[in-house]
């Protein structure tokens, strides 16, 4: 019973954070002379009003779900992966390199690309995991540094080895056979950006949920997250588990890079640290770090990102409102402690009253 109320509470807190984020967005819109009701109508219509837009929403959500899953997975082991952006870049680079170099049969090529993306992202994040386990270097600072190292690596490797014919600042376009676009699927959604990536994301959600809930590995990782010392006393190899957890989180973010640069886009641009890595933190927080929560939160942010262009076109509200709302939601998710504390005090006073009433009843009976 107690467990169930805790479970519900997490989702209520998430919904509350969303609500507060939307209210903050409305205040910002009206204080800059726009009509928030109209703004939100166009924002949501822009994300959902026809099949093509739903397809785009899902295509954008694909990346967010995978980065959200990455952050959530590390969270379970008590680690904070704010390096999903850098891991995405390394994963995208690995996938792009294979896609541009080899012309194997399509299923083999795509599988190799996605595996390479996972491997690259995983190894990149495992560096931070190793530094944490072996030298107790805080993973937040390590992943920030790794983000910028990845940023500059892409900055020089793409023009150096995979330069496009016209632009210095982006890679050659991947051949159609080396992307996750699937003509049948695209035509179902009237030619949108949707691609096989959404099924990869779905599979990742199912696998992560299974690993966390049904395997010894998942149990051990969560044990390390709950209490590192207790886990160590119980014979779990804490250091090895931390490296592995970071590696898996990185593999998920690397996969996000793979589906983004070889699915949503077909080229890699330099000089950009993908914001999806940071949005992944919002997705993980909002999804209460549970795989299916991440799935829902990713789709929701997908709607906001897809709808913002339409909203700007119809109302002249700047598209950055979507990012502002997402950022505000993170802030409210971080400060939901306030609500939780208030909730606890109401809980306590209610049960105290109940107790008093039952006591007075007994006294009355006597």
């Amino acid at each position: 019973m107690k467990f169930r109320s805790g479970f519900n509470r997490k989702y209520v807190l998430s919904l509350l954070a969303v609500l507060l984020g939307l209210i903050a967005g409305a205040i910002l819109m009206s204080s800059t002379g726009h009509n928030p009701v109209e703004g939100y109508r166009y924002l949501f219509r822009g994300g959902l009003m026809n099949l093509a837009r739903v397809g785009n929403t899902m295509a954008i959500a694909t990346t967010l779900i995978l980065t959200g899953l990455s952050v959530a997975f590390a969270f379970k082991t008590g680690l904070f992966n704010i390096g999903a952006s850098g891991q995405m870049l390394m994963g995208g680079l690995a996938a792009t390199a294979i896609g541009l170099t080899y012309s194997w049969p399509r299923p083999v090529l795509l599988t190799a690309m996605m595996l390479a993306a996972m491997l690259a992202g995983g190894l990149w994040a495992a560096i931070a995991g190793f530094l944490k386990a072996r030298f107790n270097v805080h993973e937040v600072v390590a992943t920030i540094m790794l983000n910028w190292i990845a940023f500059w690596t892409i900055y020089y490797v793409i023009p150096g080895y995979f330069k496009g014919p016209f632009l210095e600042t982006e890679s050659r376009r991947l051949p159609a056979a080396a992307t996750l676009r699937w003509p049948w699927l695209s035509s179902q959604f009237s030619g949108s950006y949707i691609n096989i990536g959404i099924f990869i994301a779905l599979a990742a959600v199912i696998v992560v949920a299974f690993v966390l809930e049904r395997t010894t590995l998942g149990y051990e990782l969560k044990a390390v997250g709950y209490n590192r010392h207790a886990a160590e006393a119980a014979g779990i190899k804490v250091n090895a588990r931390m490296v592995l957890s970071m590696g898996i989180a990185g593999a998920l973010a690397g996969l996000a890079g793979g589906v983004f640069y070889a699915g949503y886009a077909a080229t890699m641009q330099i000089g950009i640290l993908p914001s999806q890595g940071f949005d992944g933190i919002a997705v993980a927080l909002l999804g209460a770090s549970s795989p299916w929560g991440v799935w829902v939160a990713g789709l929701f942010f997908g709607v906001l990102h897809t709808g913002k262009g339409f909203m700007t076109a119809m109302t002249r509200i700047p598209p950055e409102i979507a990012d502002t709302i997402i950022a505000t939601i993170i802030y409210f998710a971080a400060t939901s402690v306030l609500v939780e504390r208030y909730w606890d005090s109401i809980d306590r006073s209610l049960s105290a009253r109940r107790e008093r009433r039952s006591v007075s009843k007994e006294e009355g009976g006597n």
């Binding site: 910002l28 800059t32 002379g33 904070f80 704010i82 530094l131 030298f135 107790n136 270097v137 805080h138 937040v140 600072v141 390590a142 920030i144 540094m145 790794l146 910028w148 190292i149 940023f151 500059w152 690596t153 900055y155 020089y156 490797v157 640290l273 940071f278 933190i281 919002a282 927080l285 700047p318 950055e320 409102i321 990012d323 502002t324 997402i326 950022a327 505000t328 993170i330 802030y331 998710a333 971080a334 400060t335 402690v337 306030l338």
Partner: protein, 314 residues
Amino acid sequence: MWQLIVQIFPYAIAYTVPLLITALGGLYSERSGVVNIGLEGLMVIGMFSGAYTISRGGLPPGSAVWVGLLAAAVAGAAFSVLHAFACVTLNANQVISGIAINMVAGAMTRFLARNLTGSGNIQIMRGIQRTNIPLLSDIPILGPLLFRQTYATTWLALGILFLSAFVLFKTRYGLRLRACGEHPHAADAAGVNIYRMRYSAVLISGALAGLGGGIFLTTVSGEFSGTAGGLGFLALAALIFGQWRPFGILGATFFFGFASTIANVSQAIPELARIPGIVLKTFPFVVTLIALVAFSRSSQAPKAAGEPYDKGKR
């Protein structure tokens, strides 16, 4: 070679100063026990308010820059209240709050810039002018390195550095602030108001990070574009690299400033052009990682940094 160093030096210093000021801001916050990942966002807030004040404030160009810097510091302090409220009053996760600060700052300032000016960028016509310091610039060796082509903000930054070193290590306020970051329960027992100290430290860090953003705007970038280019994160690295000590931070930020300047100008200089750009650009970050490993055994990090203060906990 000498000629080269003399040429690079003013640029290296110009790049160092915003980093130094921002990292000093981080120093206050972390010494009081609040980790501030939001430095990057606070710099962006400073850049935005500075750029808006300077370009649209209608002030004469000479004084507009200084009013802009003041606006940057005030806006940074005001915005950091959000971080202080989350971390100190609500005991929220400091890293998450800091990330939220970064994201809100980046998105909101671009939203406002687009509303106010029609584009996401705000350019300023005139930043701070470089001047030679009379007399001092004639000193051999030191003169050309330190006193020619300097910005007034550089001297302001050095002033803040010395003031901070004094305040943090020689005053009662500084002692109490450091106590809050090392052992808040002991400080509390001694009658220090932990919450008030941490609020003041986070607000100072916001003001300094905002000022850092303003200085970056008026000396290096010349425009607001919704990002501080990772400078806030680099300041955070400098804070660790400098082991949470003011003059350590000076050394670390100068090292980063010099390394970044060399990377930026390497193409124009034959001796440096041979080194691949990727090595020069990633150098500061790789060195920071190595430094983190090297210092891991004897880290001087404030012991309570990152931990919310819980009165009931022993």
